[in-house]
């Protein structure tokens, strides 16, 4: 196993060192697969070393030096991962950038990071960069993976990836000692070097470059690989944004340390199918992906014949009652076990197979709170789904749940090697092996993020529950109070609303107000399906969102949410009294969500100020006009009159009784 192999080898403190080791110890095992032309093309660790070496030598001949920054922009593709290792092998710092960033955001990051070189996926990214090049004066060269559409470009600053590799090859042919010198350079690589610079998603203001030191990154990966017993025989599907710490950590860093195979999907549209073909052993998905999976299954089952529907319901019910107990090895009656085994044969196994989850040994979810029902559904089918809590600044893991001690409403105790504490104000603070070395060229921000004794401030408010697991309530600065003094934790309320499949997004207001109100976004898949079943005609998202029947249904959800809030003494005062359904989906292109799909509450409140206003006066509807950005960057305006609905509060004692 990976962890043992490294035990005697104290010098393994950078990822390129692991590359050399893996090429020796797992030379013939697959390191990388990519579905291309309908076939899974694969590279062994030995071949991968070869590819990376050729590219790295090509970069050397282009004049890339130690300490330079190299931007990596695109979807999950082997060559982009290789570019990361190649840069690291030369002592340069890879800077993955979100591929769906609009040109303005991208130019800001590239310029701030001072990149000399960018390795990008295709024409789309090349165009974005060339269009903004006056804002990125230090950028010298753009290397692209996919030549399609670029044959006509006369720019001298763009180069084909294959061409760079060929020049590396040529340099090697001219001077065969280069390979040895390159490996020497890797062995001499410093543990203090910055392994990667990850830009935060920018929930608050411009994104910041989080510098992760090499030795810490390797140590963190080693800890979690051992914790979840990942080995070189495992495989994962790399489908999360390359620039997100989750992908870089879970797939790249853990892959290097454990030696497992990273599989790159054919395109972002084929992920579901590719997942099914690969059937990974380790899987991470944010709660919304699990939610989509469940929604898809539910909708398909509604289309099935009567007998199948009955069978499905019967055995999902069996799973709900006994599945989690069986997964956790708790005592279960023999008859129930037999029933579950039959259910596994008839329903669970085929279902997991369709979803591509047959071989899952460990699955994680994080990023948002996950609903109890949703969480239990997957666990009851036999998937070892757990929660973790992490941050870019920690190089992912802060807490994670141990097998057998898993709950939906908490995120687990401190991860291996992590020290965790709460400040007097209830803010979560940690010290971890992968802890960042500061924000790039922002010393004040770096200092502000740390305590004097070296702990990192997460900015999240939380508490430890009786089981010793951490529970996150909200962003510390977002927790507010109503005018009557009751606690208002917007995210807590929003999450509760979002557990209803019909509600895709919600934004709660209430700080320094008399009562709580909310914006809701319908989930087009779920509500659209419901509308079809109930013969409700609609022509657009906007029309469906404003439909009286939809309002009726959502009002029932809000009442149910109030009932749940009423049952918690801390939260009973913060029940929702008025709500409205937004006429458009909140969208990162309009700045309403971050690139990781989190609501930017302050921005939304400002943008829809008239609507917030209307929630707090007696109006029953309000006209609003907003600017929207289309996917290609053009702008337009949409206008709508949004209806506002009232909901009654539930008395706290009524539920308690």
């Amino acid at each position: 196993m990976a962890a043992e192999a490294t035990a005697g080898d104290g010098g393994l403190d950078t990822f390129p060192k692991y590359l050399l080791l893996n090429a020796r110890r797992f030379g013939d095992l697959p390191a990388m697969r990519h579905k291309d032309l309908g076939i899974w093309q694969s590279w062994t660790w030995a071949q991968q070393l070869e590819e990376i070496r050729r590219f790295a030598l090509g970069l050397t001949s282009l004049g890339l030096r130690e300490g330079d920054r190299v931007a990596i922009i695109g979807s999950n593709r082997p060559r982009l991962y290789w570019a990361v290792t190649a840069a690291q092998s030369l002592g340069a710092v890879p800077v993955p950038v979100y591929a769906d960033a609009v040109p303005d955001e991208m130019a800001y990051v590239l310029d701030h990071a001072g990149v000399r070189l960018a390795v990008v996926q295709d024409q789309e990214q090349v165009d974005k960069i060339l269009g903004q090049r006056h804002r990125i004066p230090r950028l010298e060269l753009v290397i692209y993976d996919e030549p399609r559409g670029l044959a006509d470009y006369k720019e001298s600053m763009i180069r084909d990836f294959a061409e760079v590799q060929a020049s590396g090859e040529a340099a090697l042919a001219a001077d065969p000692t280069l390979a040895g010198r390159w490996e020497e350079g890797i062995r001499a690589g410093s543990a203090e070097a910055i392994s990667v610079m990850l830009y935060t998603s920018g929930t608050t203001g411009r994104s910041k470059g989080v510098m992760i030191p090499a030795a810490g990154a390797v140590q963190a990966a080693r800890d979690t690989v051992a914790f979840d017993r990942l080995t070189e025989r495992d495989s994962v599907l790399a489908y999360l944004p390359l620039a997100w710490v989750g992908d870089h950590y879970l797939n790249y860093a853990q892959g290097m340390v454990a030696g497992f195979c990273v599989n790159c999907p054919e395109s972002s549209d084929t992920v579901a199918n590719d997942l099914r073909e690969i059937a990974p052993a380790f899987y991470f998905a944010p709660p919304r992906v699990f939610e989509q999976l469940l929604t898809r299954v539910t909708i398909r089952m509604e289309d099935a014949g009567r007998f199948k529907r009955w069978l499905y319901r019967r055995y999902i019910d069996v799973a709900r009652r006994h599945g989690e107990a069986i997964l956790e090895g708790r005592p279960v009656r023999l008859m129930a076990r037999l029933d579950y085994a039959l259910g596994h044969f008839l329903i669970y196994a085929p279902l997991l197979n369709v979803l591509g989850l047959s071989n899952i040994r460990v699955a994680y979810t994080a990023g948002e709170a996950i609903g109890q029902d949703l969480f239990s559904f997957f666990r009851s089918l036999g998937i070892n789904l757990k929660q973790l809590y992490g941050q870019t600044e920690a190089f992912l893991y802060v807490t994670c749940q141990q097998d057998g001690a898993v709950r939906a409403d908490a995120v687990g105790p401190a991860a291996p090697g992590v020290q965790l504490r709460l400040s007097e104000t209830g803010e979560v603070q940690f010290r971890s092996p992968g802890q960042f070395a500061g924000y790039f060229e922002q010393p004040e921000a770096s200092a502000a993020a740390m305590t004097e004794d070296g702990y990192v401030k997460t900015g999240d408010a939380g508490f430890f529950d009786s089981g010793g697991q951490l529970r996150i309530v909200d962003r510390a600065k977002d927790v507010g109070r109503l005018n009557d003094g009751s606690l208002f934790a917007p995210k807590y309320i929003e999450n509760m609303l979002k557990f209803f499949p019909n509600i895709k997004e919600s934004v709660a207001f209430g700080d320094q107000r008399d009562f709580v109100t909310a914006f809701l976004n319908i989930d087009l898949t779920a509500v659209g399906n419901w509308a079809e079943r109930n013969a409700i005609a609609y022509a657009s998202y906007q029309e469906l969102a404003g439909h009286p029947k939809v309002y009726e249904m959502l009002a029932a959800h809000v009442r149910e949410t109030n009932r749940r809030l009423a049952s918690e003494p801390m939260m009973a005062g913060a029940q929702i009294r008025r709500f409205l359904v937004l006429h458009k989906e909140l969208d990162p292109d309009d700045g309403e969500l971050t690139r990781t799909q989190k609501v930017r509450r302050a921005f939304v409140a400002e943008r829809y100020a008239p609507l917030v206003e209307a929630l707090y006066n007696d109006s029953t509807e309000q006209f609003i006009e907003t600017e929207v950005t289309y996917e290609d960057g053009r702008r337009g305006r949409i206008a709508a009159t949004v209806r506002i609905a009232d909901v009654e509060a539930v008395p706290a004692q009524a539920v308690a009784a």
Partner: protein, 266 residues
């Protein structure tokens, strides 16, 4: 490469020439004495109001209709009339105004049918599905996969085309035509009934087919904006007669064309 292709177009290496063609159905004259040429490597548009004879013209070119008069010269060989199978053998492929795919078959299989004309092994080998037939199949599959990649339809590879939205079906149909590796590609209203986004996608694919694969394209289209942006040269028909022929900018300002589209004051 772009400039190179454009220069070639301007040089006027003729791929197909239609000379004095007339076509009538009984007493109805669909096409009257029309001549024009298609140069190698260009995008040639045939436009005109409803009933101008555009689709008839396309059907004459690929041999579905036999004109009563005139000659068609394709790739240096003159013919009184094309026959559809000649057209196909010689490298003319087309798409249809109304999607004509095998609805129950997957995207992959539909595009594979475009390779049928290139299959060399006989029925016996095909049925045996071994040795040379299998090797050939793999070779064809590679070509088809490249087209799937080119048109970005990987996610619907295994989906029966009947279940696909219209815009994607049109794309699959284009894929099937491309599978024949045509030297002349005829597109009959490739953007009919599409929304703006689908039109933009389709325009990009048509340009890419022309620029990257070097395929000569003749297309019929109603959307004037699209036609003027895409094509190198435009021929305008009205009531079966040619009323204009030239580069888009010249055609756009031609009074005869404006009259045909907007009507003439009487």
């Amino acid at each position: 490469m772009n400039a190179l292709v454009r220069a070639e177009v301007a040089a006027g290496d003729t791929l197909m020439e239609v000379r004095n063609v007339s076509l009538s159905f009984g007493g109805v004259k669909a096409i009257t004495d029309i001549s024009f040429d298609i140069r190698r490597g260009e995008i040639r548009a045939i436009i005109g109001p409803n009933g101008a004879g555009k689709t008839s013209m396309l059907n004459v070119i690929n041999g579905f209709y036999t004109p009563q008069q005139g000659t068609i010269i394709f790739d240096g060989k003159a013919r009184r009339a094309m026959r559809p199978h000649h057209a196909v053998r010689q490298g003319i492929a087309r798409t249809f105004q109304n999607v004509a795919l095998f609805k129950g078959m997957s995207t992959l299989d539909n595009i594979m049918t475009g390779r049928a004309v290139k299959m060399r092994r006989n029925l016996f080998w095909q049925m045996l599905w071994q040795g040379p037939a299998l090797a050939e199949e793999i070779e064809h599959r590679r070509v088809v996969e490249e087209i799937i990649d080119f048109l970005e339809i990987q996610h619907i590879r295994r989906t029966p085309v009947g279940k696909l939205p219209y815009g994607l079906q049109k794309r699959v149909e284009l894929g099937r035509a491309l599978a024949m590796e045509p030297s002349l590609l005829l597109l009959d209203e490739p953007m009919a009934g599409m929304n703006l986004e689908e039109k933009e996608d389709m325009s990009r694919f048509i340009l890419d087919v022309n620029r990257q694969r070097g395929t000569t394209i003749a297309l019929i289209e109603h959307d004037m904006g699209v036609v003027m942006d895409l094509s190198d040269r435009v021929v305008v028909l009205d009531y079966g007669k040619k009323i204009a022929d030239g580069v888009p900018d010249a055609v756009k300002t031609d009074p005869a064309v404006i009259n045909a589209y907007l009507g003439v004051p009487h």
